[in-house]
Structures are given as structure tokens and as C-alpha cells.
């Protein structure tokens, strides 16, 4: 019997219409756990560097995580992985909701899709019965609307549906996959799904997920429940309210948006409005948000409620979560935040990423204002800010006129438009739009996260470590006093020493060595969550979270029956982390690509930045170019990966050469 995992993947070839239920090798769980870990392994084995996003050979993998479907709270992530049309690298946006657990109950860990369907279809999975069904009647339908229509068609309200909207059908590079209250959005999974001719995947399952040592597992779950209740009653007092609990940042519950609206940049991530949050806005927004939010919504088996059902005036009901609440309003530079309730409904139905898309629309407005785009490009566009954004959103989703350029995202659109548009592409890394923040002083931790992580999107990299030092020593002392989630005591000292100004402040503190340790730790936590299918809001993207390095092994051991300690867990995720990097290296990614957004900080330190990168690479066991060394790959039982990289000339053999290269920094 297989524990925690089902032991089966569903392999679907849309070109031939073949559907296979394939038993997986139990060894894979020992080596890679599941989720991102085992998905990366499949991509490495089966997707060569020559494969592009819209080739039939590009695999689109929908995966649950190892703990999805067990009683572990918040183990509900669906991880979608594919070569991104935007970055040409392996993307793996995740969504919460109810889909991956239903897939596990249907008896599968993953759905691995290859090929392309000649006509629009949807896939229906009901335990052992799997069908590719015609979806011509769903063409052009909204991503939320489609979910409801399929549930009606299948006559089962418990069917969980992941669907794309018009943007995905039109292969918009920032198209998302929508499901319940959640979105798998970054990197264009919706475009790959649309390219393959899949409108939706519906799943219903009524089978068991087995837990090896159930009573022991439940004991750990009860400890979690106690911790969560404790945290709900005792929010962390030293940090701002939206970050003071567990779960995703509580943007549906917290109304005061002074911090976001005044600290983050408006328009195409350009300008701060430092006096935006007036008393008047506070009053009207309080009323607006309170009225719009009809109910808070959880993901599967999660005691927190990070999403909400939105009912605003005549806008049909839909669901929202997190920072999508403000991204369009801030990018459009509107004064009336109510705009957000209206445009988000439309954007979610089109199926679009709420981080990238608003910036792309704002980028178009900037180009128009700069005279690079002309009246001819904007023919028929309303002149007011709100109307303009709706118009651009529509154009982008339909790939009509200038929308066809914008649909490829800021980086590619800038290059296709030319005429100096490239200078307006200032907030991307690896061709992907970043968070709309512009800051003063260079930050070594964020530099490393922006530059080196395979996730590319910063909100999915940062996490356990506070974003800035606390001004007072007392606050720092009280914060570290209760911080059992840290990997070791040294980290407490790093935090106590870190100050807003002076010798122990950014940019020179944390030092490159300390910064490497902290960033590596945060990245490890994300990799664990992504393999287990846990919400980052309960682990890696949360201050003092419920899941941490000292209790993950307990859950994994009890769920699977494999005895695991912290070191063996770290080794497993380090293995998949390095395989992931090798996969992207094989596609041409190297040191030259590892940069933060161009103008993220006003004050930059080129020499220090080089030193940081080199120090971090050494810490990770990567050579000067950011390629995992043979020694590191050997330690992780990945000798065949080293052979592959050497044969392709990506990894040059020889210890001496590596050392020489590392010394160049």
C-alpha cells in the first residue's frame, strides 16, 4: 500500500487522445517527496532544452503535494508546472482551493498532459473514469462561469474545476488558471493550457488517501490546531496587522490600506502616493469593503479564511484573495478604489494574473503618454483612467490591435513595439513582472531572492524573515524571545544585530555570508511547502508559522512511514532545488540573467552585488556562472545530471577552474 501519495499519475496525450493510469516508482517519493519535487524530475527526464512553451512536447503537469488529502491543515496546493511562454523557464504557479485534494481522492497524484487537442476540450476525471469531452460550447466563456457550467453539466456540485478564460484560449502570456477562490497565475499556465486546447479539468474523487501512522499524525495535527488558535488570539505584536497572524496576508479582513497604497508604487510601478490615505478615503473604503465582502472563504481543510466572496452593487458575485484587491486600482492610478471590485471580476473571468496584468496595462498607458503608442493604437479607447483600463484589459485578452503586443507581457511587448519602449520595461526579472515596489536603500536579502530564485516572483520567495529591521532593540528582543521556528540560535543574533542605520544596516549587513544563510533557509522552506502541497501562508510565507523545519519531518514521517529528520528532509529538497536549477541552466539561464528589477532600489552597490552573488553561489555549491558543480550534484545523487550538463558544455569539468571562477567575484 502507498501512503500519503496515491502512487498513480494520469498521463494524457491530447494529440492521440490516449489516457493512461500509470503507477509511479515508490523510490521517487523517497528522493523527491512529491509536488514540485517529483514534477521537476518528470520535466527534467522528459522535456529537453529545445522544447518551447507552445510545442506539443511541453508538459503541463497538474500536481498535488505529498500531504494533500491527509488531515494536515492547509495541505491543498495545486501546483501547475510547464515551460513558461514568458520566461522560457520552468514555471510552477500554485493555487489553493479544492482541486488537488479532489484529485488525490480520485486516486492520482498528478495529471501529466502532453500534445495538443485539435479542438477545444475539457477533461473530466471521476475516479477511474476519465474522459476528454468536447468544450466547443464553452469557448469564450469566463473562467469562473465555466466552472459553474461544468458542474451543472456533470450534475455534481462537488466536482472541482480548474478552468481558463478567454485570455488562456488566446495564449496570453500572463493568462491564469482559475479554480474556486484560487488562481494559478504567474508565468502563463493558462496560455499553455489554452495552447493545448484544454478549457478546463474537472475532477471528482471518492477514494481513500492512506496515512501510515494515523494516530501519531493526528497528534501532530492537534498540536497545529492549538498553535493556530493561540496565534489567532495572540497576533504577533511587533509586525503590521496583515502579517501578524497565520494564513496568507489578510487583505480580505483588514481594511486599512494605508501601508500598501502609500508604500507601494502606483502606475507602472513608478510613483508613491505618500499622502493618499486620507481620512475620507479611510471612511469610504471601510464602507465599500465591508459591504462588498459577503463572506470569508477558506481553502480545503484550512482553519483560516484568506479569500472572500465579493458582491459589489451590480457586479455578479465572484471570489477574491490577497493583493489582487489593489493591483489594478494602483496600476490604473485611480482615486476611487471601488474600481477594484469591478475590474477584478472581469479580469478573473478572462483568467489573468493580477500581478503582471495591471503593470502591463499601466505600461501601455505610459507608452501612450510618452508618444510611443499613438492615437491610432488607442482608437476607440475611453479617455478616463477607469474606462481606459477596461478597454486595455479587453484588448489584451482578445489579442486585438495593440492588445496582441501587450498580451506577451511587458518585456516582449517592449521589444516588439521598439521606439524606445524598452526603457519602460524596468520592473521585470527574467522577463517577468515583479511586485510594484520602489525603495531607497539596497537590501542584500531581497537582492539574492530576486536574482536567484527559480520562482522568480518575489512574493513566493520571501517569507519567514522580517522584511526590514525593527528600529528598537526592545522590539527585536521581544520578537526573538518566542521564535522556535528558526533553524538555529545563530539566526536570533543576526536579527538582534540588524539595525535600520549604521554599521549593522543594509546594504552591508546582513553580510554576504549571513545573507546566504538566511535566503537559503527561506528558500528551503518554500521548497518543502511546494513538495508537500502546503499553503505558504502556514509555512514559508509567514512570520513564525505553524509549519516549520522542526515539525515538517514529523508530519512526513507519520504520513508516509519513512523516518525522516531535518537533515534528510533538507537533502531531499536540496536535490530537487538543484535539479530545478540544472533544468533552467540547460535552457540557457546563468549568472547574466540573475538580476533584480532595474530600478528596484535607488542606491545600488555593483561590487557588493557581485560579491553577494558569488558568495551565495558558493554557499549553494554552484560555480561562478550559477551552475551546480559536479561535487554538489554528486552529494545529491545527481551524477547523471552532472554528466548531462558536462556533455552539453554547460558545466565545465575540473575543480580548479571552478575555484578560479569563484575567485573572480
Amino acid at each position: 500500500m502507498r501512503y500519503a501519495e496515491t502512487g498513480y499519475n494520469l498521463e494524457i496525450d491530447l494529440t492521440t487522445g490516449s489516457i493512461e493510469r500509470v503507477e509511479t516508482d515508490p523510490k521517487m517519493m523517497e528522493l523527491y517527496l512529491g509536488g514540485l519535487g517529483t514534477s521537476v524530475k518528470i520535466h527534467w527526464d522528459r522535456v529537453g532544452p529545445e522544447v518551447k512553451a507552445f510545442d506539443p512536447e511541453n508538459l503541463l503537469i497538474f500536481s498535488g503535494g505529498l500531504l494533500c488529502g491527509t488531515p494536515a491543515f492547509s495541505a491543498n496546493r495545486t501546483l501547475v508546472s510547464f515551460i513558461s511562454p514568458q520566461t522560457d523557464l520552468l514555471a510552477y504557479p500554485m493555487m489553493g482551493g479544492f482541486w488537488s485534494t479532489e484529485l488525490k481522492y480520485a486516486g492520482y497524484d498528478k495529471v501529466v498532459i502532453r500534445g495538443k487537442s485539435p479542438k477545444l476540450v475539457y477533461i473530466s476525471i471521476n475516479n477511474d473514469k476519465v474522459e476528454i469531452r468536447d468544450a466547443s460550447h464553452l469557448k469564450g466563456k469566463g473562467a469562473l462561469e465555466t466552472q459553474e457550467l461544468i458542474r451543472e453539466e456533470l450534475k455534481d456540485p462537488k466536482v472541482q474545476v480548474a478552468a481558463i478564460g478567454l485570455a488562456g484560449e488566446n495564449r496570453v502570456f500572463v493568462a491564469s488558471i482559475e479554480q474556486s477562490r484560487s488562481s494559478s497565475a504567474r508565468g502563463g499556465g493558462g496560455a499553455v493550457m489554452g495552447d493545448k486546447g484544454i478549457k478546463a479539468i474537472a475532477v471528482r474523487g471518492t477514494k481513500d488517501v492512506n496515512v501510515a501512522r494515523g494516530a501519531e499524525f493526528m497528534h501532530h495535527v492537534q498540536d497545529l490546531a492549538k498553535f493556530i488558535s493561540h496565534r489567532n488570539e495572540n497576533p504577533i505584536k511587533e509586525v503590521m496587522p496583515i502579517m501578524s497572524g497565520v494564513g496568507s496576508p489578510q487583505m480580505m479582513k483588514h481594511i486599512d490600506e494605508k501601508w500598501h497604497t502609500e508604500s507601494f508604487a502606483w502606475g507602472n510601478a513608478r510613483v508613491r502616493r505618500k499622502d493618499f490615505w486620507t481620512e475620507e478615503i479611510d471612511k469610504s473604503w471601510t464602507k465599500s469593503q465591508t459591504n462588498a465582502i459577503k463572506r470569508f472563504i477558506s481553502c480545503f481543510n484550512c482553519p483560516q479564511q484568506c479569500g472572500a466572496l465579493i458582491c459589489h452593487e451590480d457586479v455578479p458575485p465572484y471570489m477574491m484573495k490577497c493583493f489582487s484587491k489593489l493591483t489594478y486600482a494602483m496600476a490604473a492610478f485611480v482615486d476611487d478604489l471601488d474600481f477594484t471590485w469591478r475590474i477584478c471580476k472581469k479580469a478573473f473571468e478572462y483568467g489573468l494574473d493580477s500581478f503582471s496584468t495591471p503593470q502591463i496595462l499601466a505600461f501601455a498607458v505610459e507608452l501612450y503618454e510618452a508618444g510611443i503608442l499613438t492615437d491610432a493604437d488607442f482608437e476607440g479607447c475611453p479617455t478616463d483612467k477607469e474606462g481606459r483600463f477596461f478597454w486595455l484589459l479587453d484588448r489584451l485578452s482578445r489579442r486585438e490591435g495593440i492588445g496582441d503586443y501587450l498580451a506577451d507581457g511587458t518585456y516582449w511587448a517592449a521589444r516588439r513595439i521598439g521606439k524606445g519602449a524598452e526603457a519602460f520595461d524596468h520592473n521585470t526579472t527574467k522577463k517577468h513582472e515583479q511586485m510594484n515596489i520602489k525603495l531607497g536603500m539596497f537590501d542584500p536579502l531581497y537582492f539574492l531572492m530576486f536574482a536567484t530564485n527559480e520562482k522568480i516572483s518575489i512574493t513566493q520567495i520571501e517569507g519567514n524573515w522580517p522584511q526590514a529591521p525593527f528600529p528598537s532593540k526592545e522590539a527585536r528582543e521581544s520578537f526573538v524571545a518566542d521564535w522556535p521556528q528558526l533553524p538555529n540560535e545563530k539566526f536570533k543574533k543576526y536579527f538582534l544585530d540588524w539595525e535600520p542605520r549604521g554599521e549593522f544596516a543594509n546594504p552591508y549587513y546582513p553580510t554576504p555570508e549571513i545573507a546566504s544563510e538566511i535566503v537559503d533557509w527561506m528558500e528551503t522552506l518554500h521548497n518543502i511547502d511546494d513538495a508537500l502541497g502546503l499553503c505558504a501562508g502556514m509555512g514559508s510565507f509567514c512570520f513564525k508559522p505553524a509549519y516549520h523545519i522542526h515539525n515538517y519531518p514529523k508530519f512526513i514521517s507519520a504520513a508516509t512511514g519513512m523516518d525522516m529528520d531535518e537533515e534528510s528532509l533538507k537533502k531531499i529538497v536540496n536535490r530537487s532545488r538543484n535539479l530545478h536549477r540544472a533544468f533552467n541552466n540547460r535552457r540557457g539561464m546563468s549568472r547574466a540573467d540573475e538580476k533584480p528589477p532595474q530600478d528596484h532600489w535607488k542606491h545600488r552597490f555593483p561590487e557588493l552585488e557581485e560579491k553577494l552573488l558569488t558568495t551565495y553561489y558558493q554557499f549553494k555549491g554552484w560555480n561562478y556562472d550559477g551552475i551546480p558543480t559536479r561535487e554538489r550534484l554528486h552529494e545529491l545523487d545527481l551524477d547523471d545530471v552532472a554528466d548531462d550538463l558536462e556533455q552539453r558544455g554547460i558545466l565545465k569539468g575540473g575543480q580548479d577552474e571552478k575555484d578560479d571562477q569563484n575567485n573572480q567575484g
Binding site: 469562473l144 481513500d208 496515512v211 488558535s229 470569508f296 480545503f300 481543510n301 455578479p316 458575485p317
Partner: protein, 176 residues
């Protein structure tokens, strides 16, 4: 005589649709206990229509062999419910509240066990206090049960005749 009646009050307005109750119910009733999870086997099901703002936890009640013709709709607070949404019964044509493997009906047993739990597991798992466990004492007349048996037997006698019922009773007595 006095009898303790155990009930679970459902404050559906507070439900966030997480289905933790389904997870714990199926895990608790797994054999061996907690060895597996399968929400389809849960004796509590959260009826969900997200965009209509319907999240309604319902407990499995008695099995009934009778088909129900219920097709009416109720509008409560602007939301339209099938009357079946509130029905606790498992019956032949209904998929809900049946073991997906055997097809046998499921019924909430309030997690009764020896020694007893302080409250059913779903109530404990619901950290949002949607499910509220209540006990109350009720005066129960013993004769009621006697009456019920008699009424039932009379129906059988009417249908099959006195002798057949006696034969069936004798056969059952021998078997036990």
C-alpha cells in the same frame, strides 16, 4: 425516564467551506482509526454553491428505503436552496451519505465511543464554531418504543398475515 439527547447546532452563517469536518469525520471512522481520509465517506457533508453564498453542513440521518419526491425550492435570505439541501436521509437514489465502496448508508453516530469523547470530532475540528455541540435531557416514555413496535408489527400482519410474521419471528429467534 430521562434520556440525554445529543445534538449539533449548525451556525451556517459562519461556515467558510473548508470541509475540515468532512476530513476528520472520515479519518475518525476509518478502520483502523485515522488510517485514511476520504470526505465522500464523511457523515457530515458541506453542501456548497460558492457564488450563491451557500455553504451548508448537513449530518447523515436515518436511512430510508422510500424515494422522496421533494423538488421544491426555498428562498432564504435571498438564496435559493433545494429542499434536499436540508435533508439528512440516505435513500436509494441519493448518492450522498453512502459509503462509496459498498453503497451502504452512513449515519452520524455522534462519534460515540467508550470512553466517550467530550464532543464529536467534527465539532472539535471546526475552529470557526460553525458546529456547536449541545446535550439536553429529555423525558422519554418507555411505552413509546413499545407502541412503535406494535404499530410496525400490525402493519406487517396486515400485509403478510399473522402466520407469516410468526414464522419470520421464529426464524429470526433461532438464528440469534
Amino acid at each position: 425516564m430521562k434520556k440525554t439527547i445529543k445534538t449539533i447546532k449548525v451556525d451556517a452563517d459562519k461556515c467558510n467551506g473548508c470541509r475540515a469536518c468532512e476530513v476528520i469525520c472520515s479519518a475518525y471512522h476509518a478502520e483502523p482509526r485515522y488510517s485514511s481520509v476520504n470526505p465522500a465517506k464523511s457523515r457530515i457533508q458541506v453542501i456548497t454553491h460558492r457564488l450563491q453564498d451557500i455553504w451548508l453542513p448537513v449530518f447523515a440521518g436515518e436511512y430510508t428505503p422510500a424515494e422522496c419526491m421533494g423538488r421544491d425550492k426555498y428562498i432564504i435570505d435571498g438564496k435559493e436552496y433545494d429542499e434536499c439541501s436540508f435533508c439528512r436521509a440516505a435513500f436509494p437514489s441519493r448518492g450522498m451519505f453512502k459509503d462509496p465502496d459498498s453503497g451502504l448508508p452512513l449515519k452520524c453516530d455522534m462519534c460515540e465511543t467508550d470512553p466517550p469523547l467530550s464532543q464529536p470530532k467534527c465539532v472539535e475540528a471546526c475552529l470557526n464554531n460553525v458546529l456547536i455541540y449541545q446535550e439536553r435531557e429529555e423525558e422519554v416514555e418507555e411505552e413509546v418504543a413499545q407502541d412503535e413496535i406494535q404499530t410496525g408489527l400490525e402493519a406487517l400482519v396486515d400485509k403478510h398475515g399473522f402466520q407469516k410474521v410468526i414464522d419470520a419471528f421464529a426464524l429470526m429467534a433461532n438464528r440469534s
